[in-house]
């Protein structure tokens, strides 16, 4: 009963906030609505028993991706009213993309329902979330059966890191880097000097 209520609450909130993401005038508001959508999607994930995915949504999407989106929105120097002017011009293309995505969703759902596409014995792979925690079930599969996909994900992350550095990093003058080796080999004798000046002569530094 409570689950049903919670499901409809989260589902309605996801759809509403997703709608507001694309209709909000201010792009910063769009990002904030997106964060709300992520939180509600995490709630939906919890309801189907995918705890780890839900936490990942909160940690990675809300904590990192949404912040990145905010930075990107703040970085772009775009006149958004001017950008919105091309709405009619881009409408056919946008509708085409939306239709393709809709068809893909329908086909994927149909294939799942029809059943002949045996996705690697999916029923055997998905244990009951009540018996085995979601995170453990995921771990046993991800690092053995889907090892290559996992290592590929690592490579994708590596490429993303290198790409971001190559594209956005530029060497800045006057950067004072910490040189740990130089700090370590520096002795007190090199840094300080004991002098014994006579009275009234002062110290020459």
């Amino acid at each position: 009963m409570i689950q049903t209520i919670a499901f409809y609450l989260f589902a309605i909130m996801v759809v509403l906030s997703a709608g507001l993401v694309i209709t909000a005038r201010n792009p910063v508001h769009s990002v904030l609505w997106l964060i709300l959508a992520f939180f509600n999607a995490a709630g939906l994930m919890l309801l189907v028993g995918a705890e780890f995915i839900a936490m990942l949504l909160v940690i990675v999407y809300v904590g990192a991706v949404a912040v990145l989106f905010l930075f990107v929105v703040m970085m772009l120097d775009i006149d958004f009213s001017e950008l919105r002017g091309g709405f009619v011009r881009y409408l056919p293309f946008g509708v085409a993309v939306a239709l393709v995505l809709l068809c893909e969703i329908v086909i994927a759902g149909g294939a799942w329902e029809a059943g002949p596409v045996e996705l690697a014995g999916r029923t055997a792979l998905a244990p009951d979330p009540a018996a085995i925690p979601n995170i453990q079930a995921l771990g046993t599969l991800l690092y053995t059966r889907y090892l290559f996909v996992f290592e590929g994900a690592g490579l994708v992350l590596l490429v993303a890191m290198i790409g971001a550095i190559v594209l956005t990093h530029r060497a800045r003058g006057g950067v004072r880097q910490q040189n740990v080796r130089r700090q370590n080999i520096r002795r007190p004798q090199d840094a300080t000097r004991n002098t014994n000046p006579p009275v009234g002569q002062g110290v020459e530094l």
Binding site: I59, V65, I135, G139, T140, G154, I165, V175
Partner: protein, 125 residues
């Protein structure tokens, strides 16, 4: 399946309490002020006053691209850490294969980390 979601029921209740309290904190002062005070709004009263500069202007300003680099590096290492959780939980079942798989993954990202360090992408000023 029901038990997993049921464990999170206290959080849902807590969410409801938080929502209730925050709504009360917003609505109550307005309602009390409206009921106890004289309510005669006028254009001059309602317009905001700010000395010296226009009260409303675009608050957006351009950020340095360095923030983007830091954010994307954070995402990557965040994901790396996220991958460690299921690995740590299921290490007993997956054995040496899983251990080596994670070591390979870490080595890949260590390569990226070394590159970022060498390039000075982690330096700010």
């Amino acid at each position: 399946m029901a038990s997993v979601a049921a464990q999170y029921l206290p959080i849902l209740l807590f969410l409801g309490v938080a929502l209730l309290l925050s709504t009360a904190f917003v609505v109550l002062p307005i309602a009390v002020a409206r009921l106890t005070g004289a309510h005669k709004p006028s254009t001059d009263k309602l317009s905001e006053y700010e000395c010296g500069f226009p009260a409303f202007e675009d608050s957006r300003m351009q950020f340095d691209v360095r923030f983007y680099l830091v954010a994307i590096l954070f995402i990557i290492f965040d994901l790396e850490a996220a991958f460690l959780y299921p690995w740590a939980v299921s290490l007993r079942e997956i054995g040496w294969t899983g251990w080596l798989a994670m070591m390979g993954f870490l080595a890949e990202l260590l390569l990226g980390f070394a590159y970022a360090w060498k390039k000075g992408a982690l330096e700010w000023e």
